[in-house]
């Protein structure tokens, strides 16, 4: 199945598929009959105007919302209705549109919390600390230090994240999601509110994560330049319906998309 892209990355079979998702809150339909798939190793963008249902879609995937109709298939299996922490245990990590870091904890602790699904020593060993719990802690600390290195945030390792500037907080949040070593990474507007330089850094991180670790990434982003440059395929939502799905070029030239974004005289 694997077909190399122009830049030599491998894109494999379907990792996650949503089928005919319909989600409504009372009388408001947030999503209507949405289907699309995310292939292993690709960068998949979800775009659309405000209120299109992008974040709702991500919330369905990460288990916050339970759709009235439709199915989510992950790694070839239909997923039962799950709580978000069970989804995390399956290997899906995400970041939030408005930063959701643990403000009272240091950068290091935030990243270590990202590894929580991989840590298992029980209360008893934790209480004793010396021995198994400490060994586990150090093993995971090494993994986390790699990510700290990768993101270049060594200097703020022990700073409480509440004191960090916005751009760095976004970076730490990406780090926390990376620490989970998930199969699928969901990024909800990773570049919102950043300046050009920070955006470029973030793009580089996203490409490197995808390239070096082979992590599949689904992202929501409003900056069209970024979306078109980064993503392999794009799905366009508007008013909870799917408008288009395809490569950046196909989507860019789709009349329905142009109409939704630019408006067309009738």
């Amino acid at each position: 199945m694997a077909e190399p892209t122009q830049d030599g990355r491998k894109i494999g079979g379907t990792l996650l598929e949503v089928k005919n998702i319909t989600l409504s809150f009372g009388g408001v339909k947030a999503l209507t009959d949405i289907s699309f798939d995310i292939k292993e190793g690709e960068i998949r963008a979800i775009i659309g105007p405000n209120g299109a249902g992008k974040s709702s879609m991500l919330n369905v995937i990460s288990g916050f919302y339970h759709p009235q109709q439709g199915e989510v298939w992950f790694r070839g299996q239909k997923r039962a209705s799950m709580r978000p922490y069970e989804v995390a245990r399956q290997g899906i990590a995400r970041t939030f549109q408005n930063i959701a870091l643990f403000k009272g904890m240091s950068t290091l602790d935030n990243l270590m919390t990202g590894r929580i699904t991989h840590m298992h020593k029980n209360l008893f060993w934790q209480a004793i600390w010396k021995g198994p719990a400490e060994r586990e802690e150090i093993a995971h600390r090494e993994r986390v230090e790699h990510i700290i290195d990768f993101l270049g945030i060594q200097a703020i390792r022990k700073t409480p994240v509440g004191r960090l500037p916005y751009g760095l907080q976004k970076r730490v949040e990406l780090g926390r999601a990376l620490a989970a070593e998930a199969k699928l990474l969901l990024l909800d507007e990773p570049m919102a509110g950043m300046n050009l330089e920070e955006k470029e850094d973030m793009c580089r991180f996203i490409l490197d994560v995808n390239d070096e670790f082979g992590t599949t990434i689904a992202l929501i982003e409003h900056d069209m330049g970024v979306v078109m440059d980064l993503s392999d395929r794009v799905v366009v939502l508007d008013y909870g319906k799917k408008l288009a799905d395809g490569t950046p070029n196909e989507v860019r030239n789709d009349p329905a998309v142009i109409e939704a974004y630019l408006g067309v005289g009738h």
Binding site: S62, F64, R83, P84, Y85, V87, A88, R89, A93, R94, F96, A100, L101, F102, K103, G104, M105, D109, M112, T113, G114, I116, T117, M119, K121, L123, Q126, A127, I128, W129, A133, E134, E136, E137, I138, R141, E142, E145, R176, A180
Partner: protein
């Protein structure tokens, strides 16, 4: 300049994440512990035991417990007095039913029983948050006190409705009852508090502590990162109640010697412990000790100064003492809303630079 970490290099992660990473801190703590274990027992008398050291240790244990729940996991509880009563009554029943049982085992078992009760009353926390949870835990406070007053089985049908600690020995020396020497009760409590303070630190620095703090700081993000809210909250309730139960058992068996639910474990005690951790510092082990010291030792000190030093009448001193403590609480909370532990942290940062401004 006085207090610095430069030159104190860490070459391994285990050295970097040790309990007291700064050498001066480490030596200070070891020094205090050595003094408390090796010197104080020879100096202690009845007055120091009953008025100063035991209350401090007992309340420090309770503050540690509540700090785990409120400071680290963010769940406000006003049921501390009730849980202390559970620990005290469990301790009493165990002492009477199994006279041969080692007192350390009795206190720890009393803690475990309280932990189970705590989990039960922690269940509403899955649905209720913040102030509403505080009100829900208030119900546990009143229910438990009512229970211990109403059901004679708990106080073994004694005519007065009180429970009194029978004499138990440890290595042949009485540790409870009227005959227990001050140094024995003191060492018993000190050992428990020291061991469990280190255990509390171990818990909060590892996986479990992080899952508590994640729930405290941002519960939605915690769940998405893989923290099961049910497990995190209930384990916080369990561990917290375990500590509070042990403190209740110590208070009854070693400090007071006898207890009566409404007086010894009333709602005022719940507030007292809550104030201790707020003044000491939420989410800080050191803060639990500082808060307990502030609210148990300061009144004794003030009383000694006013009655013993100035020779003022005791009733006047008692009122002035309340005024002064109230004023000091306000003063410290205005100067540093994050408690005495934060004040200490800031002082340390200043000391590192002193005498230079940057």
């Amino acid at each position: 300049m006085l207090y610095r970490e430069s030159g104190d290099f860490k070459t391994s992660y285990s050295a970097d994440q040790q309990t007291f990473p700064i050498r001066l801190d480490r030596h200070m703590v070891y020094g205090i512990l050595a003094f408390a274990f090796l010197v104080v027992p020879f100096l202690i008398n009845d007055y120091w035991e009953k008025s100063v050291l035991l209350p401090f240790l007992v309340w420090a244990m309770a503050a540690l417990g509540l700090n785990i729940l409120t400071g680290f996991c963010g769940q406000v509880s006003l049921g501390t007095g009730g849980f202390m009563a559970v620990g005290a009554y469990a301790c009493y029943k165990l002492m009477v039913a199994f006279p041969w049982l080692n007192m350390f085992v009795v206190v720890i078992l009393a803690g475990l029983i309280t932990a189970m009760v705590g989990v039960l009353f922690g269940l509403p926390s899955l649905r209720i948050k913040g102030f509403y949870l505080a009100v829900a835990t208030l119900a546990s406070q009143f229910f438990l006190i009512w229970l211990f007053n109403k059901v004679p089985w708990f106080y073994n049908y004694s005519a007065s409705g009180m429970i009194a600690a029978p004499e138990r020995t440890l290595l042949g020396i009485p540790v409870t009852g009227a005959e227990a020497p001050p140094w024995m009760t003191y060492l018993f409590c000190l050992t428990l508090v020291t061991v469990f303070a280190f255990i509390a630190h171990n818990l909060v620095r590892g996986r479990i502590g992080r899952s508590w703090m994640a729930i405290r700081d941002m519960d939605i993000a915690a769940e998405i990162i893989g923290v099961p809210p049910l497990k995190a909250k209930l384990s916080a309730f369990a561990v917290s109640s375990f500590y509070i139960g042990m403190s209740g058992a110590m208070m009854f068996a070693l400090y007071l010697g006898s207890a009566e639910p409404s007086d010894s474990f009333g709602i005022a005690k719940s507030f007292l412990v809550l104030f201790m951790i707020i003044i000491g510092g939420l989410g800080s082990i050191l803060g639990s000790f500082l808060g307990a010291a502030f609210l148990t030792l300061l009144p004794v000190l003030l009383k000694n100064i006013m009655v013993g030093g100035f020779g003022w009448p005791p009733d006047l001193a008692a009122h002035l003492e309340l005024l002064l403590i109230g004023a000091l609480i306000m003063f410290f909370l205005i100067v540093e809303p994050h408690g005495l532990a934060q004040l200490w942290r800031v002082t340390k940062e200043r000391l590192r630079l002193w005498p230079f401004p940057h």
